[in-house]
């Protein structure tokens, strides 16, 4: 009896906490999307009206498509710039040449910094007049390349993507590195007997054997790309300026739910509908990606 009481005392407080502040809000998030909202007060049940509004009525429909397209672009660009370069760097560090320990620490350093710091730092660097990027270009006779990087639609989103890649490339690097370090030495010795080609070694041996790391890194990048909020918020502002060229689902959801710069247009109904759509999209595709990638993992 005392034992049962003891187990209850251990389990119930944390369980209640998660129930109240994780499970209940997430269930509510689904429910709220089906109601009309008057400011902070819940109104009448409206079925799928909020979903219809954000998906099929203007100007919401255009905004939704615009933001979603940007998220997709961000995901694929970071797949190459962050995970691709991360794999390459992991392979380089894995050789354990002199200095590898230092490079390993250096590549992960930006990862521990707040996105807010990284966002502001790059915003200052990319300033059209006083930013170090344009100053350097002018100083080396490449002044014609100097751009208002964040001020024009053609370069703004890519600037954000590069800032994100700089910030986070250390994460896939070290996850891939951990995967490589688990490859048994006998396998690598056997490969060395068979071929001299680095390419064959990477594509036929290392890449397949770090598949579990790839599964994790790809899935996390997917979830992260479609949750992207802080960096665009700091570097481009809540409206995804200029002219919504950097708008992503996270910003769009925030504006819809809590109002834009002027504080107007707060709509919890449409906001909840967007949250549900983003949530379901992430859950379905992240599940699918994990499932497909798991299948190609090999047990050593």
């Amino acid at each position: 009896m005392a034992r049962r009481l003891w187990i209850t005392a251990l389990i119930v407080p944390p369980l209640a906490f998660v129930a109240l502040f994780v499970v209940y809000p997430i269930i509510s998030a689904f429910a709220y999307a089906f109601f009309q909202w008057h400011g902070l007060a819940r109104g009448e049940f409206v079925g799928f009206a909020n979903f219809y509004k954000v998906l099929f009525t203007q100007p919401y429909a255009d905004w939704t498509v615009n933001a979603f397209t940007h998220n997709v672009l961000v995901f694929f660009a970071l797949m190459v710039l962050q995970n691709g370069i991360g794999f390459l760097l992991a392979y380089c560090v894995w050789r354990e040449l002199p200095g590898a320990a230092f490079h390993r620490i250096a590549v992960f350093l930006p990862v521990v910094l707040s996105t807010i710091i990284v966002g502001f730092l790059f915003k200052l660097f990319l300033h059209p007049l006083f930013g170090v990027v344009n100053i350097s270009l002018r100083g080396t006779g490449l002044g014609w390349l100097a751009q208002p990087w964040l001020g024009q639609g053609s370069t703004a989103l890519w600037s954000l993507i590069i800032a994100n890649a700089w910030h986070m490339v250390g994460f896939p690097t070290l996850v891939f590195l951990a995967g490589m370090q688990r490859i048994p030495g006998e396998i690598l010795d056997a490969v060395r007997m068979e071929t001299e080609s680095e390419w064959v070694k990477i594509s036929k041996v290392v890449w397949p054997l770090v598949a579990p790391s790839a599964t994790v890194v790809f899935t996390l990048l997917f979830v992260g790309s479609f949750n992207w909020f802080e960096l665009p918020y700091i570097m481009a502002g809540v409206d995804g300026s200029p002219h919504k060229s950097t708008d992503v689902l996270g910003l769009y959801f925030y504006r819809t739910a809590f109002g834009d710069q002027s504080g107007s247009g707060q709509d919890f109904g449409a906001g909840s509908a967007l949250a549900v759509l983003i949530f379901v999209f992430i859950a379905v595709f992240a599940g699918f990606i994990t499932f497909r990638l798991r299948k190609r993992e090999i047990q050593i």
Binding site: R4, I7, L10, P14, F17, V18, F21, V22, V23, Y24, P25, I26, S28, Y32, L40, L88, L89, C92, R95, L97, G99, A100, F102, H103, R104, I105, A106, V107, F108, L109, V111, V112, L113, S114, I116, F120, F122, L124, F130, I135, W166, F171, L174, V175, G179, E198, P212, V216, L220, V223, F229, E230, I234, G250, A257, G271, S272, A275, I278, A283
Partner: protein, 287 residues
């Protein structure tokens, strides 16, 4: 000989000169320059005036010029933000580790009906991005009357941190041997006594991993303060930084000094504990 073959031989020459390992070294050194360069520029600029920053962004400054840093210390709420971040992050971590260890210990050391379900319940939270439940959370905090308090942030961070922590701690506590526990039980020690004096000292390594995995995202978080906190005196460091960056838009020395000061604590701790940081932050991703 045509130009094309010449460049081909040139390239081969470079590869032969450097060798495979040489090429790898070049890639790594270039990458490290790219990784550290922006931080070095930031660090230098924190000691410069506007004119120096615009004319020679790469030059080494006079490190005895503390004008920017002094101005931040005296004219802004920077110290207040820093203290707020320490309070919020510290309380959250203590609560996460306490509650997380309690749940994990109960699940891992005792066989009771539904223990598998309880673990599932916690772990389900791992995959749910709590950001998307921000509207119900906002309303919940309002109903509890704790909007615009540090308690609202601490609660959210504990909720966010518990799933991973329970997951990591349960896995670890399951691996502990039974012998010590059984011997103590034979000697008549109570269950709480066994947990506190015998088992908890053994879980310290896992607590470090779980602590670091939580401390970085909580310390760096911006989203929840943005929604919950309006009062300037309660703002955390990342949130306060946005206020500060908006106020001093023309004084770049101050801006860089602010960024430098907010990143310095994390960078210093990271350099000292890099192994633990790397293990902790990749713990969920590396099996």
């Amino acid at each position: 000989m045509s130009a094309a073959t010449e460049t081909y031989y040139d390239r081969r020459g470079i590869l032969q000169m450097l060798g495979r390992d040489g090429l790898i070294q070049v890639i790594l050194i270039l990458n490290t320059i790219v990784m550290l360069g922006p931080l070095v520029i930031m660090f230098f600029a924190a000691f410069k005036t506007n004119a120096e920053i615009f004319q020679s962004p790469f030059s080494v400054p006079d490190f005895t010029n503390f004008a920017n840093i002094a101005k931040i210390w005296t004219e802004t709420n920077f110290l207040r933000y820093l203290i707020n971040s320490v309070i919020v992050t510290g309380s959250s971590i203590v609560l996460i580790l306490t509650l997380g260890t309690m749940a994990a210990y109960g699940i891992a050391r005792y066989n009771f009906r539904g223990s598998g379900f309880v673990l599932m319940f916690f772990v389900a939270g791992l995959t749910l991005p709590l950001k998307l439940a921000i509207i119900p959370l906002f309303i919940l905090m309002r109903d509890l009357g704790i909007l615009n308090t540090q308690l609202s942030l601490i609660i959210i961070y504990v909720a966010m941190g518990l799933p991973t922590t329970v997951f990591i701690m349960t896995g670890f506590i399951r691996t502990l041997p039974n012998e010590l526990e059984d011997a103590a039980r034979m000697d008549g020690a109570s269950e709480p006594r066994i947990m506190w004096s015998i088992m908890l000292p053994l879980v310290r390594p896992a607590l470090v991993i779980a602590g670091i995995q939580n401390v970085v995202p909580i310390w760096n978080d911006f989203f929840f303060p943005l929604i919950f906190i309006q009062k300037d005196a309660l703002k955390t460091l990342p949130q306060g930084l946005t206020t500060f960056m908006g106020e001093y838009t023309t004084d770049w020395g101050i801006l860089f000094a602010g960024l430098m000061l907010s990143s310095a604590p994390v960078i210093l701790i990271y350099i000292i504990l890099s192994r633990q940081f790397i293990n902790g932050m990749t713990a969920g991703a590396v099996k």
